[in-house]
Symmetry: C2
Subunit: 119 residues, 2 copies
DNA sequence: GAGCGTTATGTTTCGGCGAATATAACGCTG
DNA sequence: CAGCGTTATATTCGCCGAAACATAACGCTC
């Protein structure tokens, strides 16, 4: 394949990976990062702000994930001590861990394919 | 992970794969199909029509690929016997073959990951 | 009970990308 | 030399998905 490319060896394999259900996307790289930041901040709105995403969009994503999973991945409540908050459920933490592992295997796949481009 | 999903086992790993250069995407599943159809029909406009794509978009894609490759992947000429036409160059045929192989490995990766979701 | 920051949800606005349209040139055929 | 189907390229139009905006409710604190 390297024979095909213009001089500099800056070509590489890249891609996107996700898990999808019958109706909708379930988990992808963006949703993963959102879950990670909800875990870190204890808040959907803080997580959204960190990612430069509107609260509404973040909430829609959380809603989609919770609707598709057998158990909700995120637990949230309005009002109270600091206005409310959100936390990852046990199921949410498990989903994060498993999709991180899947992402890691995908990164290795992409690295292998990039290597193969030049061998 | 299966513990997480709602009843029916309709969840699966899915994704997109492509080769990118320093400035732009070089080859993806859409560009691959376009090249295959150019090879089959001998025409950019026929290939575009088969894919429900405007000629302009198809031509832009061909132009992008030709610009990034050391040798053009598609040779085209206007006028003549049947108005003109386009064919895959030797480099184009090689690119198609190699990216098809990469796609096949990716399909296997996705199948493995989908299996893993339920094991 | 007023204030705060959050969750929760609907409505409106906007920008970018693809689609559609337009035009020219090419070179064989009849 | 008129006609055809194609390549080649610029410009305009339209739509849809994302972003922005708006509003309500919640429950703790002071």
């Amino acid at each position: 394949m390297h024979e095909l490319f213009a001089e500099n060896q800056a070509f590489r394999a890249n891609g996107r990976l996700w898990i999808e259900g019958p109706a909708d996307r379930f988990l992808g790289i963006g949703r993963l990062e959102l879950l990670e930041r909800i875990q870190a901040t204890g808040s959907i709105s803080k997580a959204a702000k960190e990612m430069g995403m509107s609260y509404k969009k973040a909430w829609d994503l959380v809603s989609s994930m919770n609707a598709q999973a057998r158990q909700p991945l995120v637990g949230a409540h309005a009002g109270g001590a600091h206005g409310g908050g959100a936390t990852l459920t046990e199921a949410g933490a498990a989903a994060v861990a498993e999709f991180q592992a899947m992402q890691a295997r995908f990164a290795q796949f992409l690295a292998d394919e990039t290597t193969r481009l030049y061998q």
